[in-house]
């Protein structure tokens, strides 16, 4: 069964019928937002059943749209959290990808600014490496990007998308070895992105992220994961009730090949390792439960089939 990420938008009235249907079909709800009279569900549903969900939600005036960013965690790396970059463009971009279903985290570097003095410390590097993709937001000058980017990318092993002021072709020529994605003409600016061409630029960033993530999805498909991250999320939500008391917006953050559990590692890691998924297969058999560098959270990295010879 192939699960695809979709967003459901509809009224709050009878929306439980849709949630029940998705669960009955074997889909998973990653995030649920209730905004006044409206419900937004970000979920994974079986590819063949999208039409059925559309049919059921039609009388409820619900809308089902594919959203490839659901179930991904994106690091938006800003050179600092100073007025120079915030709230525009860092927040604008982070918020835009969040609206389309991704979980975006803003990473403000402690010593990011400057050409010669820019560096990346080990904590920043590790935090960025815990994401599915890193979006580096750089400035307006070609000279600076060329000089500082090799330092900033050191040790980053997740796909990188470079966003900068010079145009795309220039970025492609000055970055060596190449990174996974480029978006040009979006450097530092100090105004809100609200005009249509600026929104188009944000769409271009999303398209680039989608392209990079699709490539990664294809790679994963060649050596599938031993368990789907969404299934693991459901399991933890069911078996570790303490997660329901966590107040952060996404207590369980689904990634492409893992899961971030926002519970203290020392207290809960052993419990999570010993959870039984199915027929005696434990979480520990199919995944690594690691301490995250983000606060004291738990990071679950799911092993591929080639390592475990199990698919549950």
């Amino acid at each position: 069964m192939i699960l695809i990420p979709v967003t459901y938008k509809g009224g709050i009235y009878r929306h439980d019928e849709v949630t029940d249907l998705i669960e009955d079909l074997g889909g998973y709800i990653v995030q649920k937002h209730v905004l006044a009279q409206e419900v937004v569900l970000q979920c994974f549903v079986p590819q063949d059943d999208v039409e059925l969900i559309q049919e059921v939600s039609r009388p409820l005036m619900g809308e089902v749209t594919p959203s490839p960013l659901v179930g991904t965690e994106i690091a938006v790396v800003s050179m600092s959290l100073e007025i120079h970059h915030l709230p525009h463009p860092s927040c604008d971009i982070a918020e835009y990808v969040r609206r389309l279903g991704a979980k975006s985290n803003m990473v403000g570097l402690a010593r990011g600014p400057g050409k010669r003095i820019a560096t990346l410390n080990d904590e920043e590097r590790d935090v960025i490496n815990e994401h599915d993709v890193a979006l580096f937001l750089l400035g307006n000058f070609e000279t600076c990007i060329k000089k500082k980017f090799p330092v900033l990318r050191r040790g980053i092993n997740v796909p990188i998308i470079l966003v900068g002021g010079p145009d795309r072709e220039t970025l492609e020529t000055i970055i060596d070895p190449p990174v996974d994605g480029y978006v040009g003409n979006t450097g530092r600016f100090m105004h809100r992105t609200k005009e249509s061409e600026e929104i188009a630029k944000l769409d271009e960033i999303v398209a680039e992220i989608t392209r990079v993530l699709e490539k990664r999805r294809l790679e994963i498909a060649k050596d599938p994961l031993s368990v789907s991250p969404a299934r693991l999320m459901d399991l933890i939500r069911e078996k570790v009730p303490d997660i329901l008391d966590v107040t952060s917006p996404t207590p369980l953050t689904v990634q492409m090949a893992g899961l971030r559990v926002k519970l203290p590692y020392d207290t809960y890691a052993a419990d999570i390792r010993d959870l039984e998924i199915e027929d005696g297969v434990l979480v520990n058999d199919v995944a690594r439960v690691l301490p995250s560098r983000m606060r004291d959270y738990i990071l679950v990295r799911i092993k591929p089939f080639s390592e475990t010879n199990i698919v549950v």
Partner: protein, 194 residues
């Protein structure tokens, strides 16, 4: 924008320069400085690296008095001020407390101030100076230029004198010939270096 006579950005990277011109425009507008600044010239060279801004201010907004933002109503043993704009309320209250004493000044709600005093002169209260915007203009301009300058340019030299200002910033030590460079930029906008 018509208030600014001279507004230029010079940069070896054309596109970067264009972006900085836009940033400059937005920041000066956001800080309400576009009406204050008469001329501004910016030179950026990311290779050195160096950021130099020179310029001159025009007419600085005049002193804000009570009549500009409040309606004064004098009665027999009290004066009522109806505040139209709260922006200057805090400095006004401070002045009134000092002049009449804290127990004589009452503020029953956000937009009303009552002063208990005998035979007050309406004209005197109306003309009471509350805030001089030119005091903070220097700080405002330098703050705005710090926002405009590329981040990480932490070595700075800033001067504001006789309605003219300059601001040089770099990531490294400022070059030795910075003085002549700034003088050149001033010559370009047709002003003498302060």
């Amino acid at each position: 924008m018509d208030a600014v006579e001279y507004f230029e950005v010079e940069c070896p990277e054309a596109q970067g320069g264009e972006n900085y011109k836009r940033i400059m425009n937005v920041v000066l507008l956001d800080h309400n400085l576009i009406r204050v600044i008469r001329k501004i010239d910016v030179f950026i060279n990311p290779e050195i690296p160096l950021f130099v801004a020179v310029g001159a201010t025009g007419k600085i907004p005049s002193m804000v008095r009570v009549r500009d933002f409040a309606n004064v109503n004098v009665q027999e043993n009290k004066v009522t001020l109806a505040i139209a704009d709260e922006t200057y309320l805090a400095p006004l209250l401070k002045i009134l407390w000092e002049k009449y004493g804290g127990d004589k000044v009452e503020q029953p709600d956000r937009f009303t101030v009552i002063i208990y005093t005998q035979n007050a002169d309406m004209h005197e209260i109306e003309e009471l100076p509350v805030k001089d915007p030119s005091e903070s203009i220097y700080k405002d301009i330098i703050y705005a230029l710090r926002c405009i300058a590329p981040e990480g340019f932490r070595v700075r030299r800033e001067v504001f004198k006789d309605g003219k200002f300059y601001f040089a910033a770099s990531e490294d030590t400022l070059p030795e010939n910075i003085g002549t460079l700034i003088a050149d930029r001033f010559r370009k906008i047709g002003e003498a270096m302060p």
